[in-house]
Amino acid sequence: MSDQINLRKNINNLTVDELQKFRSAYKKAMRLTDNRGYAYFAGFHGVPTFSCWHGPQTKDGWPGVRLFLPWHRAYLYRFEKALQDLEPGVTIPWWDWRSSGSSQNKIPKAFSDKKAGSEPNILYKFRMGFPEHGLNRDTRRFPGKGFGPFEGLPSPDTIQQILDIPDNHFDEFSDALEDKHGFIHVWTGGQTRQNGRLVSGDMSDIATAAFDPIFWSHHCMIDRLWWIWQKKNGIDEIPDHYRKMSLEPFGVTTDEMLDIYNLGYDYAGTETTVNGNWSRSTNG
């Protein structure tokens, strides 16, 4: 169990200081080109490592293994730890793409504004530096634009139907949530025509998605939804044979990723706790 619990919050609920701290952490990470840096962690998902877990896979001789949720929890945890080394106490906020605010404004202003004050907004884009793979440019996104009309962002009711999937149905829950996650990816990336050529946003493909700074907050929302489902159905509500499986390349098992309190974070919610009138430390 971690000594300290850090709260992850909705990006729209960050105070000015919290948002500044979050931006500062990303800025410091983006400047680093070693194994503490933004590009290092983004590179686990697609180019160049392609370690991400999506859909059912075979693992340890078991077919149909769904480790999409625990793998991405481990991924966010490691990235957040790296950010905290640079900016103590910082956490990744979630992007609640269900909210009417998201539907209206598409992307939270914290990510969509090109500038933050007088400086470029560090959350708007990131420079991908892989000339050997033909990726030597800034990330881009065209949210909600596509070849055909895009449907709107998912309503709270749609997501509630997924959260209502009962216990003992982890695989069904994981598949349903992963499908919505995929929609958010392609909606955020979008497509457009530039100089007569079709181009798509980087969130739309596995190869480049994690380089877009909004990736982490999208996955923070996914992780939060899993945690809500876990709290309702049991924190260890997952097929037994998944628990000992390792989540490469993070060197942890699925079991170690189930309880987020052990990982030292929680999600801000409606629970309110006030101090009582006694502390054990004062007990002589």
């Binding site: 180019v47 392609f50 999506h54 859909g55 070849f147 990816h185 497509q191 596995i206 490469e248």
Partner: protein, 157 residues
């Protein structure tokens, strides 16, 4: 300009006597190739003429969509990097996961639609319309939608 993705069409026989006994029905897509660009697969029932312009309405037989978050259709590795092994080996001592491009699985729940259709017909037509959601010049858009098997699963109460 990319070619228009091919639409998948098929018919599945129904042998239902009592539609009231249906608890849940799903259309399950097995062995989906996700090495290409991301796309939306729109499923229409009893509408063989559905295409990318068909509105997603109940009247048009629209039953739901699934989304494939694809690898892009462009290999970033060396020769053989994206070659999918023919079959995973069930070796308990080999703790590597399967190849990242191992074909995936999706399902769409069609309970209400099937209950309605099964009252009048003994077969159901399924049309799957792929809509590209990402683009690169090297990808094979004509064959965007590829899967090994489609199952209609009816769960009794």
């Amino acid at each position: 300009m990319a070619k228009v993705p091919k639409v998948f069409k098929t018919e599945i026989a129904l042998s239902l006597k009592d539609t009231k006994n249906i608890a849940k029905t799903t259309l399950e897509f097995h062995g989906i190739n996700h090495s290409g660009p991301s796309y939306e697969a729109r499923i229409f029932l009893n509408n063989k003429n559905a295409n990318e312009k068909t509105a997603k309405t109940e009247k048009n037989g629209y039953a739901g969509s699934f989304y494939i978050f694809g690898h892009g259709g462009k290999c970033y590795g060396g020769p053989g990097h994206c070659r999918i092994p023919p079959k995973d080996i069930a070796d308990p001592y080999d703790n590597r996961r399967s190849h990242p491009l191992t074909p995936t699985f999706r399902y769409v729940t069609i309970t209400k639609q099937l209950q309605k259709i099964a009252k009048k017909a003994n077969k159901i037509s399924v049309t799957v319309v792929p809509i590209p959601r990402s683009y690169n010049e090297m990808a094979d858009f004509e064959n965007l939608l590829q899967f090994e098997k489609l199952s209609l699963i009816i769960y009794d109460k």
